[in-house]
C-alpha cells in the first residue's frame, strides 16, 4: 500500500505516494528523476547516495522514503544557482577533483555540509568530513585541495 508523504526537496515541496519499502535514494532517482544522487552499493558503504536531510548528511539508500516524511532534503541538483555552478562545485572542477564523477555528487554534498557547519575545517576535519564517501579514482588528494580552497 502506497503512503503519501510530503517533504521539501531543494526548496520545493513535494507530495508523493510511495511504497513503504522504497528508499529515499530510489525515490529521488526513479520517482522524481533526481538522478544526480548516485548509488554505488545500496548498503550504506560507499556514500555515493549522500544527501543532506534536515541539516545532516545521510546515505539516502539507508533511509526509507517514508522516514523522510516532513523532512527538508538537499540534493546535488539543488546546489547550482541561476549563475551556474556553486563555488564549491567550481572548486571541484578547477582542482581536478572529479574523474569518473560517480562519487562526486555525494562527496560534494558531504563537503557542503562540512563547510556549512565549519567554514574553516582543518585537514583532519576535511578527511573526516568525507570519510563516508569512497572514491576509487582520485586518491582524494585533489578532493582535499578543492575543499581546502573553500575555507573562508
Amino acid at each position: 500500500m502506497k503512503k503519501i508523504i510530503s517533504l521539501t526537496i531543494n526548496d520545493q515541496s513535494h507530495e508523493i505516494a510511495v511504497e513503504p519499502n522504497i528508499t529515499l535514494a530510489d525515490m529521488l532517482r526513479y520517482e522524481l528523476a533526481l538522478t544526480g544522487t548516485k548509488k554505488g552499493c545500496d548498503t550504506g558503504d560507499c556514500g555515493a547516495c549522500t544527501v543532506i536531510m534536515d541539516g545532516d548528511v545521510v546515505n539516502s539508500c539507508l533511509v526509507l522514503a517514508i522516514q523522510a516524511n516532513g523532512s527538508v532534503i538537499e540534493t546535488i541538483e539543488g546546489l547550482s544557482t541561476d549563475e551556474g555552478l556553486s563555488p564549491l562545485q567550481e572548486a571541484f572542477v578547477e582542482k581536478g577533483a572529479i574523474q569518473c564523477g560517480f562519487c562526486s555528487p555525494g562527496i560534494i554534498m558531504s563537503a557542503k555540509n562540512l563547510l556549512d557547519k565549519n567554514p574553516n575545517p582543518t585537514e583532519d576535519q576535511i578527511r573526516e568530513g568525507v570519510s563516508g564517501n569512497l572514491c576509487r579514482c582520485t586518491g582524494y588528494q585533489k578532493i582535499f585541495e578543492a575543499i581546502e580552497s573553500q575555507r573562508s
Partner: protein, 786 residues
Amino acid sequence: MKEFDIISTRAHRIDTPDKATGQAVFTDDITRPGMLYGALLQSPHAHARILSIDTSKAKALAGVKSVITHEQAGHIKYGVSPARYDETVFAIDKVRYIGDEIAAVAAVTLEIALAAVELIEVEYEILPAVFTLEEALKEGAPQLHETSPGNLCAEVHQEFGDVAAALKECDIIKTSTMKNKRQDGAFIEMQGCIAEFDNRGVLTLVSSTQVPHYVQRTVAMVLGMDVGMVRVKKPYVGAGFGIKAAANPMELACCILARETRKPVKMNFTRKQVFMYARARHQFSHTITTGAKKDGTLMAIKHECWLDGGAYTSFGIATVYYTGSLLGGPYKIANMSYDGYRVYNNKPTCGAQRGHGAVIARALFEQQVDMIAEEIGMDPMELRIKNMMDTGDTTCNDLNMSSFGMSECIEAVRKGSDWDKKKGNMPTGKGIGMACGFFVSGAGYPIYRSDTYHGTVIVKLTEDGGTALVYTASAEIGQGSDTAFAMIAAEALGIPLDHVRLASGDTDMGVDLGAYSSRQTLMTGHATKDAADHAKAQVLEVLAEQLSVPLKELDIKNGFITFAGDTPDFSALRTRYIKEHRGWIDNPDSEHLTFKEASRIAFLEKGSIVGTGKYKPHNLGGKFKGAAVGTSPAYGCSAQVAEVTVDMETGQVTIDSITDAHDCGKAINLTSVEGQMEGSVSMGIGEAMHEEVIFNDKGQVLNADLAEYKIVTSMDMPRIKAIVVESDEPNGPYGAKEVGEGAIMPTIPAILNAVYNAAGVRINELPLTPERVYFAIQDYKDRMAK
C-alpha cells in the same frame, strides 16, 4: 621543444561541470518508455552438473515477460581472446563457480524479476570443487574444462639470452618469493546496461563499459547479428580499471531478453554481483632469482609465476604473458627467463586490472634490486641509475624505449622526498624506500588478430564556422580522455578549447578499441590529431585559393589565421562572411582574419568539412611466441619514494607520504596526469595494505561489499607529491604517452622497501596486515637474538 597553446596546460576538463552538478548521465540514470527489468539466476554452487532447469513457475508469475536459459541464448562461445573462448552466456551442462550464470528473467518490475528468478528450479549434481592452486593441480583433481587437462589454463616458457650461464658469472644471487591476494576493481559504479531493439531490428546496447567496440563485436557474434546492426553506447562510466574491458554475461543476457520481449530491458549488477563476477587482479605466486656482479651490474632474471585464474580464461592469456614480459625493463638485463602458469579453479574468474599482470612481479623484483644494493653497499637509486636503459634501448624481449625519462624520474623523487638526507638517518620504526616501474602506452596489437586500425576519429566543422565537432568511439571512463582529445583537436586546429565539442563512446562513430592498456591518449590521440589536421588543411586550401596566397604560408593559431608573409587584403571575405551572418551582432572586426570566417567561407565552397583520422601502431616486437604481449609504441615510466612508520610492537604500518614522478611524454593535461598518478598510488596502497577478496571453503566471497572489502578512504590516504616529468615521445601525438597504469608499478615495492628500512623485515605476502608484519618482526627479533 615546440611551444603549445592548449596542450600541456591545466585546462578544466570538459566533462566535470556536468559531473559536479549531477547532470552527467550514467547508465542507470536512463529510463526508456516501456522498459522492463532483468535479473540473473546465478549458481549457488562452485562446481555442479546441471541436471535440469524448469522455468515454468517463473514464466507463470504475473508480470514476467521472458525467461531465458541456454536454450534461447544459444551455445556460441565467447571470451576475450578468440583462441581461448570458453564461456557461453548461460551454463549449459555445468556451473564452475558461485555466480556462474544460468538463466535470466525480464519483468515489468525488478521485484517481480527477482521473485521469478527464485521460482526457477534447477536440479544440480554437486561436483567436488577446487579452490587453490595446490588443489587444482593435484593428481586426480576435479577438472573444470575438458579441453584443459590438469586445470592448466595456459603456460608460457620463454628465455632470452642464457640465464644459467649469466648466473654463473654473478657475485650476488637473490632468490625470493612473493604472493598477493585477489583484488577487486571496486569502481563505484556497478556494471549496468539497457538493451533495446528498434522495429528494423537494430540493437542498441547502452552499457557501463570501457570497450564499446569489443562489446559490439561480442554481442553481434553471440546473437548472430551483423556488427552493423548492433550499436553500443557508453554514457558516462563510473570507472572500470580493466574489469569492464570485455563483454559481460549480463550485457549479453540483456540483449537476448530485449530480443525476446521486443522491449527495452535494464539490468544492473548489485555490489555483491560485482564481486562474484570479479575479473579483477589475479592472485600471483612468484619466485624470482636475480643475479648481479659485485659492481652492481644486473645480469639475469629467472622468473616463475603461478596465477590463480578462477573458472574461465577471460584476459588470462594476456595476463600470464604480461606477467613475464614487463620485467624486461627498465634496466639493462640481457638474460631473462620466464615460466608462467595460469590455473583454473572454482572461484570467480580473474582478469585485467590496472597494471595488468605486472604489478606483483614488479613488487618482488624491485625488492631484490634493493637487496643487491644493500649487499654491495650501494645507494638503491645509484644502483638503479647504473643499470638504467637509455632512450632508444630495446629490452632483451624486444620492447623498445623510444623515450625514457626514468633516470629523470629518479632524480625528481630523490629531490622531492629529500632522500639523501633521510636515507640511512631514520630511527627504527621509520623507513624510506623507493622503486621504479614502466608500462605500455597501448597494446601493440588488438585482442582479436586483425589488421584493423586501433582508432578512427572524425572532426567536423559546423557550417557557421564557429565550432569543431570531434567524434570518437573511444571511452571516457573517468581518466579524462574526452578532454585530452578535445585539447589535441583544438591544438591541431589552432582554435580555443571552448570551440571544440566532443562526443565519444558510441560504436556508430567509428572504430576505437577502447580504454584499456593505457592506450587512448597515444592511439586515439594520434587519430584525433590526424583528423583535425585533415579538417584544417581543407579550410586552408580554400583560403589559399581565395586570397591567392601560397598554402604553406597559412596557418591557424588561437582562432586566427596567420600569414607567414604579408597579410593580404581579406576585406572581401569578411564582407561575404558578414552577409552570411545577418541577424547576429557579433560581426568580426579584428585586425586578423578569424578561423570562424575562414571556415565559413570554406564551407560555402566545399559543403561538408570533415576531417578523418586513423591510427594503428607500426609492426612491433620480436618473432618469438607471445612476442606481441608487452609490445607498445611507447612506454611510460615512474619512480616513487614511500615513507612509512612501522609500529614495532603491533606491526601496524602507516604510510606517511609518497613522492611520485612519472614520465608521461608530453603531458596533454597536467592536472589529469597528476590525477592518474594519485589514483594509481591509492590503488597500489590499497593492494599493499588491506585489499583482499576473501573466500570461504565453499568458494563463496565472504567480503562482497565495500565495508568489508577495504579500499583506501580519505582517512588513510597519505599526501602525495606528484611530479610530472616530461619527455618527447617520437611515437606519441605531440610527444604524449601513458600515465594511467605505469604509475601503480612502483607503489607496492616502494612501500615494501620502506618497511624493510623501518623494521628490518621483508614481507613476502600481501596485504601488510598488522599480524603479518608483527610475526615477521618477531621472527626477525628471534633471529637477531640468536
